[in-house]
Symmetry: C2
Subunit: 470 residues, 2 copies
């Protein structure tokens, strides 16, 4: 195999062991778990320090080499996989995995970008604190990737998106310059807040090498209920009431349709119906508090008792143990996976204003049912964040391939409705390569132009993660 | 008086009544309440709609006219006052004062930028919601200015800075283009988060004309205590304990030195010492909850009882009524004003990491006392945000003018210490004209360069609020 000349120079910079060029070494960095993309790259670089990253980027910039930064390789839109053209170099941040500082009194932690999310959660727990970001992929995703994609997850309702958790960043610019923006300040009004640009930029403006993050009190009490109700309008009213009464103690509010629960009962190990009779819609509601003094269970019962009397809620099961809390969440977390057993599923990760969820669901369900008669919409997700995973299972007995061919056309229908509600076609997962072409349809020319101006100002040669987002 | 030719053209665009050119009409827009700046302008424009602002900016851009946007004219760093050169036109947003939408179920409100903060608070209250931003100037400051300066205030501990309250913006770009980023989404990962750039940019990147903002449950219960303790280290430990136990229910944590309380007792109407014996330092601690169910008083007593037993706290007075809560805050809010009665006061609005507050105070107090023997440091403020108003009163009987001549030199000493703690020389008030030259001393060349690149990308002709921030 021909040795790439740049590989030799880069081996001098970060050590030969950290420049992977053999197919077997490179393989884990070139596919992602949905198998949507198969990348090709001359080499994978594994820098171990900010200085390494800086030296690599300086070399890349001088030699016009395209760089694709990669964290835990769990992204869902292909942003982290090099193009099939084979001229993009993967920069894997996994060796940059040091915890630089933990400050429990100041409620902050500073880590390098290759730290795995679960490790970060554990580091916080060691000092009786919470790092609230929680995702399905937390055992392998890295915080640098979470920040670059502004990850959402299940704790957004009370703690916000990843953006809300970041106090400061260290970033290596496309030309190798190092910006030390690693601040742990809660207040700093000295000019433009540059870190905001790198958060959610999917690696297109620079390479995040470290971050200072917020910590929170560790929840001491947690209660959950599985609620049956007639329609999304009732769920919205329940949400509004619950949030008004519980405020930040309301840490989960997830909506699910009956059909999704039925899929779980049929295909998910250990799933059983928490309620005796079936209901058209369900809400999984969770309250938790860092204070032992808070009567969390009383509040949950009082909110739901009132809602029941007001006719908002048809029935509710209260978790009697942590095991039962987990059983409730098991159904919610299984809802995506079980759709596989029912044939093809066309997916959308969308958000609309919270109060528009009932109207959006009504319109979108009608539209897709009109488009594919007898299709089975399974819209579920974070009602409290306005974020619905609007998935649509094929009609019973239909041809899977033929159904999945309607993917783009159905996306267009649903995204059109989302646009009418001033919503987002990518609430959590970002743009990457998957949704790049869709962006032109949903953003104004001016907004795309402003984004491009920023890209040009920070990465004039267009060498970091080219073709992603923009 | 000679009529400015641009005034006639602009009068055709937004109406003659909205182009102020007489000295008496212009006067209120040309001074600010600290009397630090006296501006000169050919005219003050008062557009009434986004279309008006767009047309004005287009005209200004085509004719190379410099524009200084102004809200309620309450800024503390001179950003909103036109230069003495007399060639900057004031664009006052006060007529853009419509509430466009209120959504209590979705916990959002959309308003034009000229809406006065207190009006916004009242609109939220009408639907049993809270808009938490609270400032001394809330009766006259406008939300557009709050956003442009990323205002802080007394509710930051639980609700964040203004930045954290913004969901979407409408902005007129320097060339007149209108960016409609008025979204009320909680989650939206479709490209760069442009609104973040305009927040805190002090009007240097475009004109904010409207904003979608977060609302919160209205607090139903509120308790406060006035606590005496030995030193800032004890205050920090109390903060850490209180936050760990109360989490978001801890809505206020302010530190004050004995000398500041004594100034209040001497000069502030209605102030009386809440505690029997004097203490070196004080903390005003407030807990509040949107939930009637939360035992706020019990928690406050339990936290302070434990701290007392642990020797952290010397004494504490619990407010027995809302009047007493207000009496406690009266002392805190009076602390800036009473310094006038004690002669000259040299001021700093700084922040450091929360856990560094004790060490910062020790060093800074020693340094200024070394610089001016017998000076009287009165550092007070938002300990929970790491934000200290480090004010230093003159020695008793010293010459006020001679003391105030040391302003810049003392600033340099204090800001140097702030820099060693990786802190900020403007925690709340921004840069404007007042601190523009200081910025070069505290930001890296790269950071200033990145800021300039953004400015050039958004305002290539440098016509909006030139010479502010950068």
């Amino acid at each position: 195999m021909e040795r790439n000349p740049h590989a030799e120079r880069l081996a001098e910079i970060i050590g030969a062991a950290n420049v992977l060029t053999s197919p077997e070494d490179k393989a884990p960095f070139l596919t992602e778990w949905r198998d949507l993309y198969q990348g090709v790259t001359p080499m994978v670089l594994r820098p171990g320090s900010t200085e390494d990253v800086s030296a690599v980027m300086k070399y890349a910039s001088q030699n016009d080499l395209k760089i694709v930064p990669q964290g835990g390789n769990t992204g869902l839109v292909g942003g982290q996989i090099p193009l099939e053209t084979g001229d993009e170099i993967v920069l894997s941040l996994g060796r940059m995995n040091k915890v630089r500082a933990v400050d429990p009194d100041g409620f902050t932690i500073t880590v390098e970008s290759g730290v795995i999310l679960e490790t970060l959660q554990n580091e916080a727990e060691k000092v009786d604190r919470l790092f609230p970001l929680a995702l399905g992929s937390q055992g392998s995703c890295q915080i640098g990737g979470n920040i670059s994609s502004n990850a959402g997850g299940t704790a957004v309702l009370a703690y916000g998106n990843t953006r809300d958790l970041v106090l400061g960043l260290e970033v290596v610019m496309p030309n190798g310059d190092v910006w030390n923006g690693l601040r742990t300040l809660r207040k700093d009004n000295t000019g433009y807040d540059l870190k905001q640009l790198f958060i959610g930029a999917e690696g297109t403006l620079g390479i995040i090498t470290a971050a200072s993050l917020k910590l929170f009190p560790k929840p001491k009490k947690l209660e959950a209920a599985f609620v049956g109700l007639a329609d999304p309008q009732a769920a919205l009213k329940l949400f509004s009431t619950a949030k008004a009464q519980a405020g930040p103690v309301l840490t989960g509010f997830e909506i699910m349709p009956r059909v999704g629960v039925e899929f779980c009962l049929s295909h998910l190990d250990g799933a059983r119906d928490p309620l005796e009779a079936p209901h058209e819609w369900y809400v999984l509601m969770e309250l938790s508090s860092g204070s032992e003094a808070f009567p969390v269970r009383d509040l949950l019962e009082s909110i739901l008792g009132e809602a029941f009397e007001g006719g908002l809620v048809e029935d509710a099961a209260f978790a009697q143990s942590m095991q039962q809390v987990q059983d409730f969440w098991h159904i919610r977390h299984g809802m995506s996976e079980v759709q596989k057993a029912e044939g093809g599923s066309i997916k959308h990760d969308v958000s609309v204003p919270v109060a528009s969820i009932p109207a959006f669901l009504e319109e979108a369900i009608a539209a897709v049912t009109d488009f594919v008669p007898n299709c089975r919409p399974v819209p579920f997700g974070h009602l409290g964040d306005g974020n619905i995973h609007f998935n649509v299972s094929q009609p019973v007995g239909a041809d899977k391939e033929a159904y999945l061919e309607k993917w783009d056309a159905m996306n267009e229908i649903v995204h059109g409705i989302v646009a009418n509600f001033n919503g987002s076609i990518s609430a959590e997962h970002g743009i990457g390569r998957l949704k790049r072409d869709l962006l032109k349809g949903v953003k104004s020319e001016l907004e795309l132009d402003l984004m491009q101006r920023i890209k040009d100002a920070f990465d004039p040669k267009g060498l970091v993660n080219p073709g992603r987002v923009l």
